[in-house]
């Protein structure tokens, strides 16, 4: 089991001055965010552009988990943005977290999702529903970047249909025994713990699901083969197979039967992290297109002079900006402890569709160059696609939004 002692923080990462430092134009909104948020956005941007962007292509080729960078991000406080300082986190708000994920994803989308899953899907539910003891044991060691966690809800038989969980949890004396298979678990090959959802009473349907904390590795828990994905390849995705996996009774998170509620609330917040990741990918694709539009000449002038390209760039920028404001608004509502489910769904939907749209157009702007690995456009295209699927498909987001709208108009 993870130890509960606070390790001395590793020294913060350093950066070298080279011509590429802070090469990107700061986005105009910097002027409207509070100073604290501007500063942390700048530091994440610097880190992403200096340390992540140069290695992103290679990480993608090698399917390699960026362990060193994750540790450095941990030292910077980015692996546990919302966790209070008393537990080893940065003690900042959710808006700051969304800014961080966006900037990091602009450098490397895989790193963005690794950070997001650890923050929102693993630390999030434990912070909200864990006992003080559980927080010390399962949160603090996961704030430094030395360890990451994961979230096991989906199964081979159900993704969107989360209420139909078939992974079983049976009480035997002073232990829970888990059995079943979880699918599509991000980070699992690199994780040291997981939040697992299993049903303690199938007859109660979704009200019979409970959440459990399981360390990794652990007897009875094994990992399936790493999926060979289209994008976000530096982050590992695989099945988690539970066979007679025994954990102490104290490892239940929240109350019995509360699992579905925990999952849904966790995903509400998690989807803002994914919205932020999608924004980062979209922004990177726009950066690459706008830069190319300045440099590439055709018909005697830079292609940026052509209206066809200008219209594309305008549509791309509009899509990103709209989604970004939706994301910030949802994050601010959450920070103000107001209901934010509808806004979060809108943000994730808008941002993920923006990411696929923008990266698609980016390849178009780059033409042939967009199709080859020499330019990052093809990687953004591949990375963007998953954002419309995980942590709630676009279809589910639409259902969430519609349900909320109908409730608002209820007679």
């Amino acid at each position: 089991t993870p130890s509960s002692c606070l390790r001395p923080p590793s020294p913060p990462p350093t950066r070298a001055l080279t011509p590429r430092t802070r090469e990107l134009p700061p986005l105009p909104q910097l002027a409207e965010l509070p100073e604290l948020h501007q500063m942390m956005r700048q530091t994440c941007r610097d880190y992403a552009q200096k340390e992540l962007a140069p290695i992103a292509a290679q990480l993608d080729k090698d399917h390699k988990f960026p362990a060193k960078q994750v540790k450095e991000l941990g030292a910077m406080g980015v692996m546990a943005v919302e966790v209070p300082e008393s537990l080893g986190g940065a003690g900042m708000d959710y808006l700051a977290y969304c800014l961080a994920v966006e900037e990091l994803s602009r450098g490397c989308a895989s790193t963005g999702v690794i950070v997001s899953v650890n923050n929102s899907l693993y630390l999030g539910p434990i912070l909200k529903f864990g006992t003080e003891e559980q927080k010390k044991q399962w949160i603090t060691p996961f704030t430094t970047g030395e360890r990451v966690g994961c979230f096991a809800l989906s199964e081979p038989g159900n993704g969107s249909d989360a209420g139909a969980a078939s992974t079983l949890a049976q009480q035997e004396g002073d232990e829970w025994v888990l059995s079943g298979t979880k699918a599509w678990i991000t980070n699992c090959w690199d994780a040291s713990a997981t939040v697992v959802f299993a049903t303690t009473d199938k007859s109660l349907k979704h009200k019979g699901i409970s959440a459990f904390l399981v360390p990794m590795p652990h007897p009875g828990l094994s990992l399936g083969k790493k999926e060979d994905k289209l994008g976000i390849r530096a982050s590992s995705t695989a099945n988690i197979i539970l066979e007679d996996c025994r954990i102490p009774l104290g490892n239940m998170l929240g109350e019995r039967g509360m699992g579905f509620k925990i999952a849904m609330q966790t995903l509400d917040s998690g989807r803002l992290g994914i919205a932020a990741q999608a924004l980062g990918i979209a922004q990177a694709a726009l950066d690459c297109s706008a830069d190319y539009a300045h440099k590439r000449t055709a018909f005697g002038a830079p292609i940026g002079k052509l209206q066809a390209i200008q219209f594309k760039l305008a549509d791309m920028a509009l899509a990103i900006e709209s989604a970004r404001l939706l994301t910030w608004r949802a994050a601010m509502l959450r920070d103000a402890k107001k209901p934010f489910t509808k806004e979060a769904a809108m943000a994730k939907l808008a941002a993920s569709e923006a990411a696929t749209f923008v990266s698609h157009q980016a390849i178009q702007v780059l033409g042939g160059m967009g199709y080859v690995t020499d330019m990052p456009a093809e990687r953004h295209y591949r990375d963007a696609r998953i954002t419309e699927i995980y942590e709630g498909t676009s279809e589910i987001q639409r259902l969430v939004i519609a349900n909320n709208i109908l409730k608002e108009y209820q007679q």
Binding site: P12, R15, L17, T18, T21, V81, A90
Partner: protein, 283 residues
């Protein structure tokens, strides 16, 4: 031997005057300028524009950020504090309201408090190394600083004078272009990058050191430190309070863009070359 009892302050003086860059024309409505570095061939987004009255370059709407050499200076000061060789790091900057952002960046890196010497408007446009050095010298005396670390030069005016003049005004020894500095007993060993190679000197404290590129690699501000920076104090001071007159002794006659590069001429033989050079009055 610990210096913490004797070395009270390390004042890190930050230059946050404008950052200019040489780059491609930009269509953006928001000419926000990113930090320039010492390498000129970087990709940036603002074209330098000379003001129509040719008294300087346009700085309106241009974002200013910490001079890269000053970042290195701040990093060195914080490293000394982490080694418990100094007690307090004070970050200082002279300029208008915006410099507070830069001071806060230094605080987020780990400096303990800041001092903003307010200079704005016409005074700021004509502020140069001599006036800044006078301000620093006055502050150093007031704060009883034991060590001043600055960047070796600002990348907007490339003067490379402030450190030297400050040391002269205070009658303190100076270790400029430092690529390494070590506190040894009551002396400071500084390895300087000079044209001929590396020169190692030992100077007494109090002293002025100017940071060169290879002194260290500045850290990223961590999120907890950014949060802590919010609570750290930045004191406001005016040059008059320090008894310094910021009136400039220099008058800028005119500022021009570099002349447009002319096309070259190809010649066939060495004689032709000499002939052309003579024609142009170069030989």
């Amino acid at each position: 031997m610990h210096r913490s009892s004797e070395v009270k302050h390390v004042a890190s003086y930050l230059n946050t005057r404008g950052c200019e860059c040489f780059g491609q024309p930009c269509e953006s409505h928001c000419p926000v300028l990113t930090d320039r570095t010492i390498h000129v061939q970087l990709k940036t987004f603002i074209k330098i524009r000379v003001k129509p009255d040719r008294t300087g370059v346009v700085t309106d709407g241009v974002k200013h950020s910490m001079n890269p050499f000053c970042e290195i200076a701040v990093e060195e000061a914080i490293k000394l504090k982490e080694k418990k060789l100094v007690k307090e790091v004070v970050a200082v900057s002279c300029g208008p309201q915006q410099v507070q952002e830069t001071i806060r960046t230094a605080l987020a890196m780990g400096a303990d408090r800041g001092i903003h010497v307010e200079v704005s408007g016409k005074d700021y446009e004509t502020l140069g190394p001599l006036q800044v050095s006078k301000i620093f010298a006055a502050l150093a005396k007031k704060e009883q600083a034991d060590l001043i670390i600055l960047g070796k030069q600002a990348i907007d005016d490339d003067c490379n004078q402030t450190g030297q003049i400050t040391a002269a005004l205070l009658d303190w020894p100076q270790g400029t272009f430092a690529s390494e500095m070590t506190l040894e007993a009551d002396k400071l060993k500084v390895v300087r990058e000079v044209d001929g190679g590396l020169e190692t000197i030992k100077i007494n404290l109090p002293a002025v050191v100017t940071a060169d590129l290879r002194l260290n690699t500045p850290r990223y501000a961590t999120l907890p430190n950014i949060m802590k920076a919010k609570k750290k104090k930045i004191a406001n001071v005016k040059p008059a309070d320090l008894g310094v007159d910021v009136c400039s002794r220099l008058e800028v006659l005119k500022v021009d863009e570099p002349p447009q590069r002319q096309a070259g001429v190809k010649v066939e033989t060495v004689d032709d070359l000499v002939g052309k050079l003579k024609e142009a009055g170069r030989v």
